[in-house]
Symmetry: C2
Subunit: 323 residues, 2 copies
């Protein structure tokens, strides 16, 4: 038996639920209920590009799964399971133990068992995660389903992961850096331990029209809904839910973090004004913060961001560039 098998046996072989076949065979087997469609999402995360080399192994395990669960949430899908591809430069027991603990803790919390994977060697840590869920095709929250006059909603708060990144990259002016250091732990938690609103996403299926996670930045991801749905958006800038650590920031920096900062594994979704109360009730039941921030308009592709005083916000950057 190769060392791959030792590694998988030691760190990645916790039991799977009844009705499943876990790792060790050519394929894992999972149940999908009749009438449901299989929802699938995959991410490839590379050290130095998507995460810092010195991030804690446990946080990385959590986040690698969280960013994919966020895609299931944005589709309104119920998790079925996940597979993990892991390329590492060396077998480091402390690291593997921390990584698998962080991964499994979220997998158990989300009801998304790890059913299989692949391990190999690479100079830079590289993670590939694929998650599976099931959803009624008619209720899936697709990006092409926004309708004119829909409310635009956001879960959670914006801006903190972007400020955490700038802080960790030492890319802030000295005075701002000092201010952000006061909130370092809250900012890092927002960046490293995102909690996508998975149960709330499932409850939005059939209630909301379009949804997307805000992983590449609010305006960029909302733009994908607008393009796919052939409509525009009117955004009330002063209504956007901004992380409290950002209060007192210079205007330009705050605006960039809120409108274009990525790594926010929360949802932007659209829904008819008639279901406002139902949405608030579901959010409350799930312990999720929701905020109405604008309206879908008929002007295809146009994002109009306006302050309470009527001033139009000029947008300088859309969001995360993958290349």
């Amino acid at each position: 038996m190769g060392r791959e098998f030792d590694l998988i046996n030691r760190y990645f072989s916790r039991p799977v639920p009844p009705g499943y076949l876990g790792g060790g065979d050519d394929c894992a087997l999972l149940p999908v209920r009749p009438g449901k469609k299989l929802a699938v999402s995959t991410d490839l995360l590379v050290e130095g590009r998507h995460f810092f080399s010195d991030v804690s192994a446990s946080s990385l395990g959590h986040k690698a799964l969280a960013v994919n669960l966020s895609d299931l949430a944005a589709m309104g899908a119920t998790p079925l399971g996940c597979v993990l591809g892991l390329a590492i430069p060396a077998i480091d027991d402390a690291w593997l133990s921390g990584f698998s603990d962080g991964f499994y803790a979220l997998a158990e919390q989300a009801g998304c068992p790890l059913v299989g994977g692949d391990t190999t060697w690479a100079k830079k840590i590289t993670l590939s995660i694929t998650v599976f869920g099931e959803v009624d095709a008619a209720c899936a929250l697709r990006r092409d389903a926004a309708r004119v006059d829909d409310d635009i909603w956001v879960t959670g708060m914006l801006g903190a992961p972007h400020m955490a990144l700038l802080l960790l990259q030492d890319a802030l002016p000295a005075d701002v850096r000092g201010q952000m250091l006061l909130h370092e732990s809250a900012l890092r938690q927002a960046l490293e331990l995102p909690q996508p609103p998975l149960v709330f996403g499932m409850r939005l299926a059939g209630l909301a029209h379009a949804a997307l996670d805000i992983s590449d930045g609010f305006l960029q991801d909302l733009g994908h809904i607008l393009t796919a749905s052939n409509c525009g958006a009117y955004i009330r800038y002063d209504d956007l839910p901004v992380h409290p650590a950002l209060s007192g920031l210079p205007d330009a920096l705050r605006q960039d973090a809120v409108l274009s900062g990525g790594d926010v594994y929360q949802l932007c979704f659209t829904a008819a004004p008639a279901v406002r109360e139902a949405i608030q009730a579901q959010a409350q039941a799930c312990g999720v913060r929701v905020t109405r921030v604008g309206t879908i308009t008929p002007e295809a592709g146009r994002q109009h961001v306006v302050r309470d005083n009527g001033a139009v916000v000029q947008v300088t950057r859309q969001g995360f560039q993958h290349f």
Copy 2:
């Protein structure tokens, strides 16, 4: 829109079948028929570790998918679709065009549409592929299902990918190298363009007991069946189907290539002697070569490899080490 979207739109957005939702949303949606289980397999392939830097892009696209389809075949599953994670050092149009052509050609041939993915930057080309299939749980070809007195079968031929590797790595003595160069094109084809017996695998479901692909070497992979099924194997060395390019090789080199050489995306499976004719008939219908090479014994974990003259073959190496 980021450049990621251009790249996906240009190379990885061919149409998906009716009833599917392809890339562009948070998740892809696929149908799974009632009563079937979802079969899932994932692989992570790294440049310089799993493939040479100078392999043709089209061959790489083919092989990346083939190694995963091989896992579906070894489970007896019918392909539903796949997702691709692609990390590349730069956007090279000729390479991307070749890679996507090779990938799509096999995906179409296998009925396994590409439904989604993720692209990013990495110094070394890194590919993560996850394939989905469906299978009757009761008929799935699991590695723990071999029974004493089962025949042991092999599809295709053994040894060629290993000799291709040694040739490309310039790791052969001069006289052997000269002999192998005469067969370079056939050897490279076996290494770079594997054709896993997908349709035959589906037909084995319900007919054979245990199955596995021979990606890590015949004896190592057969060993996984023996361990999981708590039995042993008697192998008739002279009955093993050896690639014709290997005839005339020194004994030790030939034996190592045949028994321990990896990268053979063919099946090793076990089945009751009563279904020999049914297996031959299915193989003929699928145009797949099958060979009976031994018998499952009650001696747990013991692999006994014997020549026609009664000599016992001493095995020096099991197969591919992942670390």
